[in-house]
Symmetry: C2
Subunit: 148 residues, 2 copies
């Protein structure tokens, strides 16, 4: 029974993710941003200006794809290149004024959504759920790594 619930919890990750992504996508309508452009803006907002390989490391996806995401984002004008004193070939990406305004608006809208979603849930329950999910993810990661 414990096992069965754990199984259900784990496989709820897909519908949960899909629902969350649908919400993000819905919140992007009219902004001119795509989901992946938003991801770039969010990283720059949360962790500060940085290079493409830095962003790739944060997102844990290959730099070649992040390069594409970042090039698109650059083209949008919400992000700009700045000279990188540490590496001539790898400019630093930074939010422009418009980019900062936009991502802050988007994030605050998303946080408001979080508040609404959490309305009927206690802090304690959310906290416990997060702990469980973290532990399960960690455990699965280890076991997948072993087997492959």
């Amino acid at each position: 029974m414990k096992t069965e619930k754990l199984h259900r919890l784990i496989w709820m990750s897909r519908p949960l993710m899909q629902a969350a992504e649908a919400c993000v996508e819905a919140g992007l309508k009219g902004t001119g941003l795509t989901v992946r452009m938003r991801a770039v803006l969010e990283i720059l907002h949360r962790y500060g200006e940085q290079t493409v390989p830095d962003i790739a490391a944060r997102l844990e996806i290959k730099r070649q794809y992040v390069q594409i995401m970042c090039n698109e984002t650059l083209a949008s004008g919400f992000v700009e290149q700045r000279a990188n004193p540490r590496h001539k070939r790898s400019p630093i990406l930074a939010l422009t004024g418009r980019g900062l305004d936009l991502i802050e608006k988007i994030i605050s809208r998303e946080l408001k959504l979080m508040e609404e979603v959490g309305e009927n849930l206690s802090n304690e329950d959310i906290s416990k759920a997060l702990d469980v999910v973290l532990a399960v993810t960690d455990s699965l990661k280890k076991r997948a790594g072993e087997k492959i």
Copy 2:
């Protein structure tokens, strides 16, 4: 703070899903099955023999793609077609003996993994976590639907 934890919980869905899928994939090595073929076998095992459109409805993905999945699975010999008295054009798919053996072996292996992963977690915690995740998913689904 509650909001922030909820945010983290929601976005753990991606790494959780990826870790779970990696485990499933690792467990399929040497069986000749792909992840999507396994999905077909699992549905047939859990809900019994049924047609392609039925499977598509269960998986909540378009029948055209499920058709491809099923055709692959048919080619593998783990599933076979049976005449459908209710619809001449739409045969019923059923597990073959080999298919049944294989999916049962895979499921039992995966359940054992569930037990290991749940070792250090209480029934109650898992139960609560599942409730929270179900509630959050439901809430997000509603809100995404409204906005789009």
